[in-house]
């Protein structure tokens, strides 16, 4: 149920693999992923915008009870990350060595394996945050 189909993963490649979003030509809002209508101003014209891979943690949690796709990973840290130049996303925060997660922590997004196995046996990739 939570494991995406191969078709869906393919649709999401630009955003998930290349951090490709959109910049609203009317108001400058950064959308991630792209969509057809700007949620800030309602405009419909956009330029492709590649998100910065640098950002900060806005909030986080340590998940101890997970859904089936993430069960083998618990406990893991989940965070909301605000990126430099605009765009926010929810992702795992990982690779912390002798360090506690904190709000305001500077992080960098890295391309990682997200889910081991989709419905069609496809491995799903995306971004995770690591301290920088």
């Amino acid at each position: 149920m939570t494991t995406p189909s191969a078709a869906r993963l393919t649709r999401e490649y630009p955003a998930r693999y290349r951090l490709e979003g959109a910049r609203c030509l009317a108001c400058g809002e950064i959308l991630y992923p792209r969509r057809l209508v700007c949620p800030a101003c309602g405009a419909r014209e956009f330029a492709v915008h590649r998100l910065s891979s640098h950002g900060v943690v806005k909030t986080f949690t340590v998940i101890h009870v997970a859904g089936s796709a993430f069960k083998h990973q618990v406990p893991y840290i989940l965070a909301v990350v605000a990126l430099e130049g605009g765009g926010t996303l929810t992702c795992e925060l990982t690779d912390l060595v002798d360090q506690q997660p904190e709000i305001g922590m500077p992080v960098e997004l890295q391309f990682r394996r997200i889910q081991e196995d989709g419905e069609a046996g496809v491995i799903a990739y995306g971004h995770k945050a690591v301290p920088r």
Binding site: K58, T61, V62, L78, T90
Partner: protein, 387 residues
């Protein structure tokens, strides 16, 4: 618009009901509400249900349940807004009576959550969040609320103990509710030392998985007067429904529930009241932090003061503004589609003075607040006793 009254209420005993099916628990609640109202026919029916499809593999609940009640033929439909499905079903029924399309409407909510595995239930609930951009990278429902809790703690100094007090209070109230799933007290220590689900939320910070149904009968004021039998008349004085950005990460302020505030403002304006006028409230405490953020969003306490106000007993029975006298989602249980309707059941009982040991003395005006997802949908009703 015509005045709309609640003329009958009912619910079944909530819990893990392995011996009963969705259609049976729903029918129990519907029959109780019809008997309470003193009617055996209705003009139309709504069913609030988040996911009959995922929990029990059954959709098309409007027709199924009308048939089950011996009422095949009436207009009947299922209403879905995740965990706010019940509250939105109530608003849908309100609109049918207010518009004059129907005189008597049966509003119901139901969820049968224990027929599937825990993993399947968790996955079904997670469909109320953004599947592609929250659940895919690893979010769970408790995880999203835990991130709201962290943000609230950082912004206002809200503590784990203050959050735990929400669970302590609601379990203390639920002891007095014969329909509640967990009729037992819990202590701050038990909440804090429970199994961690998503830090800082422990298992006792989260509402349970529940099988349950609830129903109310709505009518126009003239019909309500005819059927009142000397009981106080309860009118739906205000209705508000609002939405927010779906994904938590797309909201500018992670410590605010903007849809709750917007829905409340609509309901307050329609009822011609301010938050200070509310004497009893049933709110959506799906997680302890949720109740703290909700009482702020409803204007019961200033921004950031939800934690201290809870710890000071302001929201307890006998406090300044009693919140969740029924036990709330925490103790009464949270069969998601039924929750919003059960809130109206409780506030109606409170306004009629029929709430027994959990009665808020002299309550004449009350409020229900139900929400879906991390607050992307919220629906508020203001109920009042009328002469």
């Amino acid at each position: 618009m015509r005045d709309v009254c609640i003329i009958g209420v009912g619910m079944n005993d909530w819990g893990e009901l392995w011996d009963l099916s969705l259609r049976t628990i729903w029918t129990q609640a519907a029959l109780a509400a019809l008997a309470d109202a003193g009617v055996d026919k209705v003009d139309a029916m709504t069913v609030g249900c988040m996911s009959g499809g995922l929990f029990v593999g059954q959709e098309h609940l409007g027709a199924l349940l009308a048939d089950e009640l011996g009422m095949a033929g009436i207009p009947a439909t299922r209403v879905e807004s995740a965990c706010a499905s019940g509250g939105v079903a109530l608003r849908t029924g309100f609109l049918e009576v207010a518009s004059g399309l129907a005189d008597v409407v049966l509003v119901t909510g139901v969820e049968k959550m224990t027929d599937c595995s825990n993993d399947e239930a968790t996955a079904a609930l997670a469909t109320a969040a953004d599947q592609e951009w929250e659940v895919f990278p690893g979010a769970t429902f408790p995880g999203l609320y835990a991130m709201m809790a962290r943000a609230h703690m950082a912004a206002f100094g809200t503590t784990r103990e203050q959050m735990a007090m929400v669970a302590v209070k609601n379990h203390a109230n639920g002891i007095h509710n014969p329909h509640a799933q967990y009729r037992r007290a819990v202590t701050v220590d038990e909440v804090l030392n429970g199994t961690m689900v998503a830090d800082p939320l422990t298992v006792l910070s989260c509402s349970p998985i529940t099988d349950g149904a609830a129903a109310v009968v709505l009518s126009d004021k003239e019909t309500a007067r005819r059927l009142a039998k000397g009981r106080p008349l309860v009118r739906i004085a205000g209705v508000g429904l609002a939405t927010d950005r779906m994904a938590l990460h797309n909201r500018a302020d992670l410590t605010a529930l903007n849809a709750v505030t917007a829905a409340a403002q609509k309901a307050y304006a329609m009822a011609g009241v301010t938050p200070e006028a509310i004497q009893v409230a049933e709110v959506h405490d799906c997680f302890t932090i949720a109740e703290i953020m909700i009482i702020e969003a409803l204007g019961f306490v200033p921004r950031g003061q939800g934690g201290p106000a809870t710890a000071a007993g302001e929201t307890g029975l006998g406090g300044r503004i009693p919140v969740n006298p029924s036990g709330g989602l925490k103790s009464k249980g949270h069969p998601v589609g039924a929750t919003g309707v059960a809130q109206a059941v409780e506030v109606t009982l409170q306004l009629r003075g029929e709430a027994g040991a959990r009665q808020v003395a002299g309550a004449r005006i009350g409020l229900t607040q139900n929400m879906g997802g991390t607050g992307a949908s919220s629906v508020v009703h203001v109920l009042e006793v009328i002469p």
